[in-house]
């Protein structure tokens, strides 16, 4: 954690499993991290690493057959006022979920009901959180939030149905809906995977502006290392349900420590320079019903040894830089977990 961090969300030793017919999928195992107020925190990883599940667990959005087995999620609406989200009753939780912690999900077409206008989505959200007395009042407010989300022609668009909008505009509609409850934390789960790159650039610019303008804390979930580099203050790299490395964005990119982080960065193409040979990671991600023992990356790791059959703790190897790998056992300044 950085020195002057004022925590807004703390995740402690989270375990999530999915009880499927094929067996118990151990999707998240012992994930802990802290998000500081006002920062952009990234969860990055490949398909199935558990980044989305973790983000959903922040407001207990895990549905059957999934279950939070263990661990705590603490939310600090004000410094020094912890609320334990994991033990909150459903009524209290509803005020926080979508209210103080709002989401932008990956697919804006799935986030919007095709039978209702954009304005209605915003009005309904505001009404549900008691911010307006009627849907009609919410409808009038909606224009303001569409404007904030830089929707072109908001007075007209407020009356549009989702099918009348392009992918980028739908996502702006979703962002406006999320903003309408004046959240403190915005969780953006792959917000631009469904849109083209020029629109992605526009949406990311918007998120940056909103973050500073509205004093938001942004949690960005992505698989795109480019977006991490562009947007984030701190990053957690996830692999097969665990955080393998966490640190300030510059440290992660300039001196990645975990073999997985290094391999991942080598597999990412920087379009501004010519790459003659791309390095790939042999093998595929493990099946989380029967995950590998110990470090979950060890079957694909070029440095694996006997000790990797034991689960590595998180070694602190520098100012706010943690890595869960036995290679750093000797140079560690501290150990967590």
């Amino acid at each position: 954690m950085p020195e002057n961090c004022d925590p807004i969300i703390e995740v402690r030793d989270l375990y999530i499993s999915f009880y499927t017919y094929a067996g118990v999928v151990k999707a998240i195992e012992g994930v802990s991290f802290t998000v500081c107020r006002g920062e952009t925190y990234c969860l990055v990883g490949e398909t199935g690493c558990g980044k989305s599940v973790t983000s959903k667990a922040l407001t207990r959005l895990i549905q059957a057959p999934g279950r939070i087995e263990k661990g705590r999620v603490i939310y600090y609406p004000k410094p020094g006022h912890p609320i334990d989200i994991t033990s909150l009753d459903e009524g209290e939780l509803r005020k926080i979920r979508g209210g103080e912690i709002a989401y932008i999900i990956q697919d804006p077409s799935a986030a919007l009901d095709p039978l209702y206008t954009i304005g209605f989505h915003i009005a309904e959200t505001m009404n549900a959180h008691g911010l307006v007395r009627s849907i009609r009042e919410g409808f009038r407010e909606a224009v303001k939030y569409l404007n904030k989300a830089l929707m072109p022609d908001p007075e007209e668009r407020v009356k549009s149905y989702p099918h009348e909008l392009s992918g980028g505009m739908k996502q702006r509609g979703v962002i406006a809906t999320s903003l309408s409850t004046k959240p403190k934390v915005l969780v953006a789960d792959e917000p631009t995977t469904a849109v083209d790159v020029t629109i992605q650039a526009q949406i990311m610019k918007l998120l940056k502006e909103l973050k500073s303008g509205e004093g938001l804390t942004l949690i960005l979930i992505t698989h795109n290392m480019g977006l991490v580099a562009e947007m984030c203050d701190r990053v957690a790299v996830m692999y097969a349900g665990r955080i393998v490395e966490e640190g300030a964005v510059l440290d992660i990119f300039k001196s990645p420590k975990h073999p997985y982080t290094r391999a991942l960065l080598n597999a990412v193409i920087n379009p501004l320079v010519r790459t003659s040979k791309l390095e790939s990671i042999p093998g595929t991600v493990p099946d989380l019903i029967r995950p590998p023992r110990g470090c979950r990356f060890h079957p694909r790791c070029p440095f694996s040894s006997e000790i990797c059959l034991e689960r590595p703790p998180s070694f602190l190897i520098g100012q706010d830089h943690k890595v869960a790998c036995w290679l750093y056992k000797d140079e560690a300044q501290g150990v967590e977990g």
Binding site: E46, T47, P152, S166, G168, M169, D196, V197, T198, I199, Q200, A201, Q202, M204, K205, H223, N224, M225, G226, L227, V228, A229, E230, V249, L250, F253, A263, L264, L265, N266, A267, V268, I269, N270, P271, L272, R274, T275, K277, L278, E279, S280, I281, P282, T284, V285
Partner: protein
């Protein structure tokens, strides 16, 4: 052939100096009708007059955002769909004039790998059947089919244990390997790769891209590599073309296009990609464009990019710019170069 079109063909042939073209595309058009209740309401001009060549044993990358027409171009070149106009030459022969046996012979030489390996493999066929199918279709007899298929599987990093399994037993990356093995089965000269890695994770993507480069070098293949991912195109391509709303706006050696983009749309596209380097990402100057691509049903007059272009001039809305050679072998369709 009229004098005009033979001159056009000559210029396409010499588009990239020092290269021998395998594929030449001239003024290719594909309009999809949009049907109303009774009459056709209009046409989506998915591809609207593109000309380019693909040099032998090289890769031409085709980039563009969704709806730019890049996939349609790939399918037209293989004659999986019929063009509305224009001509396509493969190894000097007009493939639009081919039919029957001639067309079949062409199809042996040109293959495709599709984007979605979950849809391009028949779930009821084993890997052996999938990879052997092209030989069956073309009536080619080999002495030992199993050995033949196995050799192909080794090529793409699979082995004998995979031979009689079904597609559902494989991950996305492995499925794409099977699709590549199938495309290799007939020893083609040319392959269209239509976003072959867009469904894969980065670590697996790197495996597949390296595999494609390997087989290209080994078999001397010519690739048309279609992708929306500029990084992937840079890694794979010797030459690249940028499409916008059915038109090629810029084409040239990929290093030149990346390092010295000429068309405002290319510049905007390049500055929109996130760069995996925090120092560069936060300090570079960017050209952001407003708005979204207009509907291809009713594209803007003149240069199709003009409503979003920061360098818009009056001429742009009136007249369409031709491809202009800005440096040797590097072409851009913009009035700024005149």
């Amino acid at each position: 052939m009229s004098e005009n079109s033979s001159r056009a063909r000559e210029s396409v042939k010499r588009m990239f100096p020092g290269e021998q073209p395998l594929v030449e595309v001239l003024n290719l058009k594909k309009y999809f009708p949009v049907r109303g209740l009774i009459f056709t309401r209009g046409y989506v001009k998915a591809v609207d007059g593109v000309s380019f060549s693909i040099p032998k044993s090289k890769t031409l990358g085709l980039v563009g955002e969704s709806g730019s027409g890049k996939t349609t171009v790939g399918r037209l070149i293989l004659r999986l769909i019929e063009p509305t106009g224009g001509s396509i030459y493969f190894d000097g022969r007009d493939i639009l004039k081919l039919s029957g046996r001639g067309l079949k012979a062409f199809r042996r030489r040109a293959q495709i790998v599709f984007q979605d390996p979950y849809m391009s493999l028949n779930p009821r066929m084993t890997v052996f059947d999938i990879v052997y199918e092209p030989l069956r279709v073309h009536g080619i007899k080999v002495e030992n089919p199993q050995e033949y298929v196995l050799k192909l599987l080794y090529q793409v990093g699979l082995n004998e244990t995979h031979l009689f399994r079904y597609p559902h037993e494989f991950s996305g990356g492995q499925r794409q390997r099977i699709a590549i093995a199938r495309a290799l089965a007939l020893n083609p000269e040319f392959m269209v790769l239509d976003e072959p890695t867009s469904m894969l994770d980065v670590s697996v993507q790197a495996q597949i891209l390296n595999l494609l480069k390997e087989i290209q070098a080994k078999y001397n293949l010519t690739f048309l590599f279609i992708s929306h991912d500029l990084g992937v195109v840079r890694y794979m391509s010797d030459y690249m073309a940028v499409m916008y709303l059915g038109k090629i706006v810029e084409i040239g050696p990929s290093d030149k296009v990346f390092e010295n983009p000429a068309h405002p749309y290319t510049k905007a596209l390049l500055s929109a990609i996130p760069i995996p380097d925090p120092e560069v990402a936060r300090t570079r100057s960017r050209l952001t464009i407003k708005g979204e691509p207009p509907s291809p049903l009713n594209p803007p007059r003149g240069c199709r990019f003009h409503p979003r272009c920061p360098f818009y001039m009056e001429k742009c809305g009136l007249e369409e710019p031709p491809l202009i050679e800005v440096e040797k072998g590097h072409w851009s369709a913009c009035w700024l170069h005149v």
